[in-house]
Symmetry: C2
Subunit: 451 residues, 2 copies
């Protein structure tokens, strides 16, 4: 595929252009940028030869970019999914190069969204364009569905998939938004955790109070947040929400046995990836089980009081903690939200009022590794990478997999080309450029095989 050289160069440049758009979907201040990214993607789909493209708007949400080419009669139809929105960039001071100025260092491009998910989305677009340029047609039918709310709840795509399954009729979905187990090791993801993300609101005094004058009698909402969080999750990593573990399924023996054959050095992982003095979590479970097959509770930020330079002796009137629960099959987000709310009520200290405000949720999902679409993807990747494809799960959440399963009744093939150290959601996010190239080749080859 050396004739791809000029094509690859062009593909990278387009990806960089997309990376320059600060499409932070969770921040209302970036609404116009998100819109601009959607238009950029639609233009890309047109260029790739889609016969029809559309920006689909659901309510006030960020647009879904849709594109289709359905000229391969009698052949399967693939639904190609990615997202063009990105996470916020804080803490900005920790970025070596600015998050929205894609910069190449050591064969990687550094930028917010490089791996998650603009780079990987662009793999799908360019694989299709490559085949179209070469053959004037595609070996299979394709529908693109690229969303702009993956990092902020995905309400638009959820509503659209539920209400218009007929417009997305397909035989399988291909999702390019996950990672490889290790460099050079083609990987298919067979399981994702679900998520419940929201805010714990705590209200105490009517107004901020002086901690000298009132310390000793006034409830402190920040302390109450700490008390509630530690009551919900013990130091042993166990979540103390009644009935929370009732539906948690243990992975099959053979799946866990396969995980044990993956090349993995726990000490190196601790040192290089996590970088903390020790790994934590539930005793009696392996690292893979803890991140792929066990639910968790995390706190992401606590607002309230004074966090600036210097000293302010305030007992704040209110505090808010951003928290999330990762779920595993067969936990149900709606049910977990109710369990969480009841648990918060049960552990709220006296003197304050506490409530939980849901921001978004997504179900966990499992993919059958014996499915034909999955197997064919695995062998296409094997050809390009020259290594056996491995199966892993991911601790992250791609709620769309559950939606495709439930409303379109199709399996999702998770071909991921990110690397474990790509700094997703963190400063200095990057994407390995060689994987961008190989990703395009692997997806193109997969489509050829399916055709």
């Amino acid at each position: 595929m050396s004739e791809m050289t000029g094509f690859k160069k062009q593909a990278r440049e387009e990806m960089f252009e997309l990376l320059r758009i600060p499409s932070i979907s969770t921040d209302p201040a970036h609404k116009a940028d998100v819109e601009r990214a959607a238009e950029f993607v639609e233009k890309g789909l047109k260029r790739a030869g889609m016969t029809r493209t559309e920006l689909i708007r659901v309510g006030e949400g960020h647009p879904l970019v849709y594109g289709e080419w359905l000229g391969a009669e009698g052949k399967p139809t693939l639904l190609l999914y990615g997202h063009y929105d990105v996470q916020p960039v804080e803490p900005l001071e920790e970025w070596i190069s600015p998050p929205f100025e894609p910069t190449v260092r050591d064969g990687n491009v550094y930028a917010r969204g490089a791996c998650d998910d603009k780079g990987q989305t662009w793999i799908l677009v360019k694989a299709v364009e490559w085949l179209m340029q070469r053959d004037g047609r595609l070996p299979v039918n394709v529908r693109f569905l690229i969303e702009g709310e993956e990092e902020c709840g995905g309400e638009s795509i959820a509503a659209f998939v539920e209400e218009h399954p007929e417009r997305l009729a397909a035989d399988a979905a291909v999702i390019c938004d996950s990672e490889m187990f290790a460099p050079e090791m083609p990987t298919i993801c067979t399981g994702l955790r679900g998520i419940v993300y929201g805010e714990l609101h705590v209200e105490g005094p009517r107004t901020d109070l002086h901690s000298g004058v009132y310390g000793g009698v006034a409830p402190n909402p920040l302390m109450a947040v700490a008390e509630i969080l530690t009551a919900l999750k013990g130091r042993d990593g166990k979540i103390a929400i009644p009935h929370f573990y009732d539906r948690v399924e243990t992975p099959a023996e053979e799946e866990m046995a396969a995980w044990e054959t993956l090349p993995f050095d726990e000490e190196e992982y601790r040192r290089k990836e996590v970088g903390s003095p020790e790994l934590t979590g539930e005793a009696g479970y392996s690292v893979f089980e803890r991140v792929w097959a066990r639910p968790t509770l995390e706190v992401h930020g606590i607002r309230g009081g004074f966090t600036g330079e210097g000293a302010k002796t305030v007992i704040p009137a209110r505090a808010v903690a951003k928290i999330s629960l990762r779920l595993v099959a067969d936990q149900r987000p709606e049910e977990v939200v109710e369990q969480l709310k009841a648990a918060i009520e049960g552990v709220t200290p006296r003197g304050v009022r506490a409530s939980f405000k849901l921001l978004h949720a997504g179900a966990p999902s499992l993919v059958d590794p014996d499915n034909a679409y999955v197997k064919m993807a695995a062998s296409a990747m094997e050809e390009v990478f020259g290594q056996r494809t491995v199966y892993m799960r991911s601790g992250g959440s791609i709620p769309i997999v559950g939606l495709f399963d439930r409303h379109l009744e199709i399996p999702s093939v998770l071909m991921g080309f990110g690397l474990p150290d790509d700094n997703l959601h963190a400063p200095n996010e990057k994407f390995h450029l060689a994987n961008f190239d190989r990703g395009i080749e692997a997806v193109a080859r997969y489509l050829e095989r399916l055709g």
Copy 2:
């Protein structure tokens, strides 16, 4: 004293001018404003007739404003203390009128620093000026010492008092930085809590991590902060720092008996002042004991992770909690800092490193109500207010009282004219203008009596 009318009007206008200067000492961005406030105060002291004034600089700190008039041979010398710096103003959106635009509503002036302590500082300045204008001299000798770091640790004044006690030689100090027990009820404060204020720093992963990918194995510094805080202070309000209570003294029977005679409706206090569903704190102690005679631990803010709009699924690399301990006699700040550090070490969860960084500290202090200077102040206030002066303590901290005691060996007379609902350190801080006027009269009369 009706002839004071023009004088009073002028006094108020000067105070408002001082209130317009945003002298937030804890914020380096306001350094020039703090300087401007110091110059304003020095000018005021000159106008009041001080024969010598000076801006005293200790290291890089905010200047101390000094002024003296020592022409009353054979008479006592008073050291008059106040501070011209103020607390930060966050949350700005809760102010009804802007914090640095003094606004009069219902007989109160609303502004940051109105009560704490620009308004009260100006009482001292104008009382002296009033006598000077009337008599061309003062009945006693006075030294003013007005600092600009009361809200950020007071390092300059501490160093100066320790190193140059001879320059502050006096018989008693008068401190105008406390509050009245109730409107119309002249009050002298006989006890203050000490303080240890600092930051709890927690470090976990080397960089921010994706909570999907690493949730279950990576330590979460925000959770660790919650675990440390709840380990240091129980839901029962007891502080679980070993030996922390060893030096805590119980107030004398008769002092507590006097507190019981103060007009106080706990339910009204809860509803109107604290505004929370319930009062909290240690069981078995009265409200007065809890805020005046018992130590506490409070958290003022927690930094780390993501607290903006929307959702970010991050496990932060580090977190910082601003915390303080209020101390009561006979606790020693230096000793408490060591106790706290040891306690933190003992309760830090695995996977993170935690440390305590001291920002400032001050010793608790008690004043003998039978001291002659205290008694004379009480009767001067009684005359002006037409009500018996009561004795209370304050839960806040004025570290200077301990310093004057230790290095100058003089008692401090805490004549306070603030009201319990003056919103110190909170939005909509105010000062009752009638108390400003009466404060000037009471201080002037006190000086006359001493002379």
